[in-house]
């Protein structure tokens, strides 16, 4: 397990007080809770949508200015244009890396491995803070606007998750304030202590007052958790999915689903879907509003949605072969991408990034320089091609007028009726480049040579850029790479199968799908996202075919990009299936060498402190004496509940055991753990296979399971009938 990764705990701690509180919550409370949840889903959707619009607006405007300025300057001097281009990029990239390294280190990278871990039940410190949100937003504006070979989709997923979590926390805080008031109340009533530290009266158990005390503590211990448990996951997840897919609400839901199926419920689905749709509506409204030109360069592009409805709708049987080949290439290149990025990232973490922030900043600046030089310089060296005959292909403007988007850029060409095909894809924003690659009915626009050059250079840049200290998504770069070789294959097909109604743009789309499949391996959601962003349902079976192949090929070599990265970062993900050998191993064998550390029910404070300091476990069984003197396991106490949470109830974080300083007197006190423990943890008999335990653990999202001896008798049997009784 990694440096700071800690498991999350979603189990309901059902102590007496929890149940009592539950009993008091009537229908009204339920309705209130439901309304609250929907309201927050709405807010989260709006927030994420606005963040997405803001990022896109900024990126589009920055790069719009950049290209406009450069183009107008190169009319006079290519050299000055080159300098301006480089400096502009460098400035943006520098601001990004500066923000990230100085203020929000957790904002580096795509954030998806961390979110994936979070949804799997592992918390990585810092990923959901407000400063991370800010770092992510401004950092990705800089890094994407600065023309690096990375995208803004991953960061947007992370942004969505942050917004969800912050809103959830806000809600949690409200609850918490009410609660800490009650705890204070209780302290006062109990005699209290000015510092709210342990007081001698506090640990006594007044049998008659038990309920009241329990209640107070319950509110404290569970009110917060109860409200936020569902929250965090739902909303975080929801928005994660949504933002990932931008304008692909269904794909967004499926994305969320594919990542976190271990604890999915159908009500969640609907709420997540709702949030998704809210984001889509917000984005769409903003774009409508911007249509009239109020948003500068934004509006003409930006959000990944490439309508290829003009593309090929039908396909003949023979075309399945080249399509399968695209799948194979995608699998190979995707797996290679994962492997290379893994090597480079681990090398970086081991050597480069240890040396401090200066190195990180320097690294990114160098990469920015290299990227600028390549994307400007290579097209310069490339010979221009003659524009297509305007009679043969009507509706095509070649070369395009300076300062507009589109195909056929005239860049350093000798004649006016020529265009530079490499500049069309390289010296352009990524969105426009993809639009150009996907574009239908533009046969032979690109020469094979240009595409190969672009593929090699961009692939290398993407590999090198991955893992630097800026927010970086892999979605759009993946599409760039994939659509390049896809289009190459398409050109070959056009060449060999002459008579077919083949469209190169459609092949580019398939290539994009195949590379994403080969690298990320999230098949279902990718498939739907591709369909949604290209707005063409009819290509679904082809995309599926390609994805199926590329995933299979990729899986042969290594794990998916996000899994690899999560592993590297020490985020212990549980896969959806237990390993094969677990079927032949019992729970007892899995915990064979453990000497279980447990507490008695009533325990001296000094003992607690020394036990907690002597190990790093997070949960301990509590054992008590039964009426006949036999031992009985009465529950599970969490490290958190033991002390850090209630010693200083006003603090929002809880203290670690090292920070707590107690007097000699206090250490001598006895504490009754019964009201705080979870009286019904999940238990499994010792010879249950580990595979079965694994499923239990993962499907219910647990943190601790007790392995216990075979029971001596069965008190009752629960079947379906027992769960169907009416109130």
């Amino acid at each position: 397990a990694g440096a700071g990764a800690e498991s999350l705990d979603y189990e309901v701690v059902e102590n007496y007080a929890y149940r009592e509180a539950q009993a008091q919550r009537g229908k009204l409370w339920v309705s209130y809770y439901v309304v609250l949840k929907w309201l927050f889903s709405l807010l989260i959707g709006i927030g994420t949508g606005l963040a997405a619009v803001f990022i896109n607006l900024a990126v589009e405007n920055f790069s719009g200015w950049k290209y406009a300025a450069t183009f107008s300057i190169i009319q006079h001097s290519y050299f000055v244009g080159f300098l301006v281009y480089i400096l502009f990029n460098l400035g943006l990239v520098f601001s990004s890396v500066y923000i990230v390294t100085k203020f929000a280190p957790a904002a580096a990278g795509s954030g998806i491995p961390e979110i994936k871990g979070y949804l799997n039940g592992v918390d990585t410190p810092g990923i959901l803070l407000f400063r991370t949100l800010i770092g992510k937003i401004f950092g990705s504006i800089g890094s994407v606007g600065g023309g690096l070979a990375l995208g803004k989709e991953g960061p947007l997923v992370h942004t969505g998750a942050c917004i969800a979590s912050l809103l959830g926390q806000e809600n949690g805080h409200l609850a918490r304030e009410k609660i800490s008031f009650r705890v204070l109340d209780y302290f006062t009533w109990q005699g209290g202590s000015k510092r709210y530290h342990l007081s001698s009266k506090w640990v006594r158990v007044f049998e008659s007052d038990r309920d009241r005390r329990d209640l107070a503590f319950d509110y404290y211990l569970h009110g917060y958790k109860y409200l936020s448990k569902d929250w965090y996951r739902t909303t975080c997840l929801g928005t994660a999915g949504v933002a990932a897919a931008f304008r692909a609400p269904v794909g967004g839901v499926l994305f969320a689903l594919e990542e976190v199926t271990s604890w999915w419920r159908s009500q969640l689905m609907w709420r997540v879907f709702f949030t998704s749709a809210v984001v889509a509506v917000v984005v769409r409204s903003a774009m409508n509003w911007c249509k009239s030109g109020k948003c500068g360069h934004f509006g003409s592009g930006g959000f990944i949605i490439w309508d290829i409805s003009g593309g090929q709708e039908d396909y003949s049987f023979q075309e399945l072969l080249p399509m399968a080949i695209i799948g194979v290439i995608g699998g190979l290149l995707g797996a290679l991408f994962n492997q290379l990025t893994l090597f480079i990232t681990s090398w970086r973490r081991k050597y480069l990034h240890k040396k401090g922030n200066r190195i990180k900043i320097l690294e990114v600046c160098i990469i920015s320089l290299v990227t600028s030089v390549i994307s400007f310089g290579l097209p310069l060296l490339r010979r221009c091609s003659a524009c297509p005959d305007s009679e043969m292909s009507p509706g095509i403007e070649c070369p395009r007028p300076p300062g507009t988007d589109g195909n056929f850029v005239n860049f350093y060409c000798a004649k006016d009726s020529e265009y530079n095909d490499l500049a069309t894809i390289f010296f352009n924003t990524q969105d426009d480049a993809i639009r150009n690659l996907f574009s239908a009915k533009t046969f032979h626009e690109y020469s094979a040579q240009s595409l190969v050059i672009f593929l090699v250079m961009f692939y290398s840049l993407a590999v090198v850029t991955f893992g630097t200290a800026v927010p970086a998504g892999q979605f759009v770069p993946g599409i760039m790479i994939g659509s390049t070789y896809g289009r190459l294959v398409g050109m070959l097909v056009v060449k060999f199968y002459r008579k077919l109604n083949v469209d190169e743009g459609t092949y580019a789309l398939l290539g994009a799908a195949s590379f994403l499949g080969g690298s990320m391996r999230m098949t279902v959601s990718l498939c739907v996202i591709m369909v949604e962003i290209t707005n063409n349902l009819k290509l679904l079976p082809l995309i599926m075919l390609v994805l199926l192949i590329s995933k299979a090929v990729g899986d042969f070599f290594n794990k998916g990009l996000y899994e690899e990265q999560a592993q590297l970062r020490g985020i212990p993900l549980l896969e959806s299936r237990p390993k094969l050998y677990m079927r032949n191993m019992t729970a007892k064998e899995a915990s064979k060498n453990q000497k279980v550390v447990s507490f008695p029910r009533v325990v001296k404070v000094g003992n607690i402190v020394s036990v907690l300091r002597s190990n790093k476990h997070n949960g301990y069984p509590v054992v008590d004496q039964g009426q006949n003197g036999e031992t009985l396991v009465i529950g599970l106490i969490l490290r958190r509940h033991n002390f850090s949470d209630f010693v200083k109830p006003i603090s929002s974080k809880g203290m670690s055991i090292e920070e707590i300083h107690l007097t000699e007197d206090e250490l001598e006190l006895y504490l009754d753990l019964a009201p705080f423990l979870n009286p019904s943890p999940y238990i499994v008999p010792e010879d249950m296979s580990l595979a079965k335990v694994y499923n239990l653990f993962r499907q219910l999202g647990l943190r601790h399971i007790f392995v216990v001896p075979r029971p001596s008798r069965v008190i009752g049997l629960i079947t379906r009938k027992d769960l169907l009784i009416e109130e």
Copy 2:
């Protein structure tokens, strides 16, 4: 619980032998298994696709002939045409009800409540048999072709599930044959018995031979289950979803998901999606093949897919109010529909259908007559309207030429340039009627009066037809009803908000969504299905809004259509959330009055028989003496495993305990239950809340949970770290 409903059992019975068998299964076995699964998914997809094509082809041709014949006859005499129409319908409907009542009683109704139950873990006898499949296919051709107010989508879901299950069983049988060979082997080796009944040697425990015997039995008891466990659910589910959505693969997956989220896994998702896509491809290929007119009337319609890309794409803020009203109407009418059908169905079950098949047949025939009379007669009484000005609305052909599909039917009109708006929707196949209702840019085609008449009549017919002894889906009728009032609201909007670019067809679509939402309440999948079948992603937010409202309104009154029907049929569905009161109830309280019936490890056959005959439980704890004389629960034995399964290993069904006749000698034998029992059933401590038990039960798809006393000690603790160890 209902008459024949029995729980399904998906728990892996992990006896020694199972583990041994697992250990022997290497990588090769895994790959083989994977290939097999994909292959079967493919086969199931193809099978379901072909069945869907066949049903549609037949229905379209039958009703095509019917309308063509009627139309050509009414040129001469309306009375003769009327007679022909009635008789044609009656003949088809009669054949349907005859097939169903005589050969496949389980094929009546939509089948979705049963499938839903199956996926929730309850088996309804007969629903997945071959004869049910046949009954479903031919029955729905008759009932839909015969013009009743019902659809073919529900039956197609059921058909898909049957195909999946039959293929799965086939596979199971293969495994089983190999297995029974081994069991035979074992019997022979043990001395055997000619009738394969209990033999005295058989029950002895040869300690040294234990493994071999266990192995044999394991293959028998688990080989089958192991192969089919995953199968059934996956494939059944997959195809169910797929078929439901016809040409909406994504919606199909989500449909499956929304129904069965309790045990969802992401690998399943991909396979289900694959099956979905295969169905879509098969259907599409067939339709392409039929385009050239080889399939008679099929090709011009049939599969529900109504492209409304011509519809309204934008909407103004003011339009949200009428849309919300549509949602409310949908909720009210949907809830009313559920309530009325519930009353009528329960009345039918109590009184009418008790009287035998004759009554059932008669009932359906009468309904057919009434339907024919209304759908022919009402348009006759309706005054025709003048065709729209051909200059104002170019591209509209009015009246349409006889024998073609389209709007503007000339039916019993005085002049040639008139059309009968009621006939356009009433005297038509449902698919065409919906296409007409959804059609864009046809303002004022229908008079409000006609729409109201149609709404009332069709609604009543749909209510009455529901629950008769023919295969009947509610999807298409729901769309008919919904789009009628949707269009009505649209007309009002056109009237009041004059200047807006309002399209009545879009309102019809929203109406359809609202009625389905108000009646079925499956929000997410309905939403995606509506988008897919109308091929218009841009309406998604509006559809969501309407669905959200109609579901909320409907939920205020009663449960969803399928839940209500499942309850009526005694299918005990577990909802996705535990009831509120379960939070305040412990597992012990839930099973308080039980006297648990258990077996000792070694038990006399006579005792087993008498215990099994004295109650109807399906699982019993097995209790043994530990080394120190204390009792120990060593596992769970199923009724099935006790006897019926292995007394007659060749039979495919297993015998019930009443059918087994044993001699006095045999009754005196002792049997060791250890090798057959499940040694690690799920256990919960006695004071776990029932809510928590509920989640455990549902999420893992269990059948039995033992409530046990608090354990005396904890042997080990399983955390994430223990589940991450590498091989």
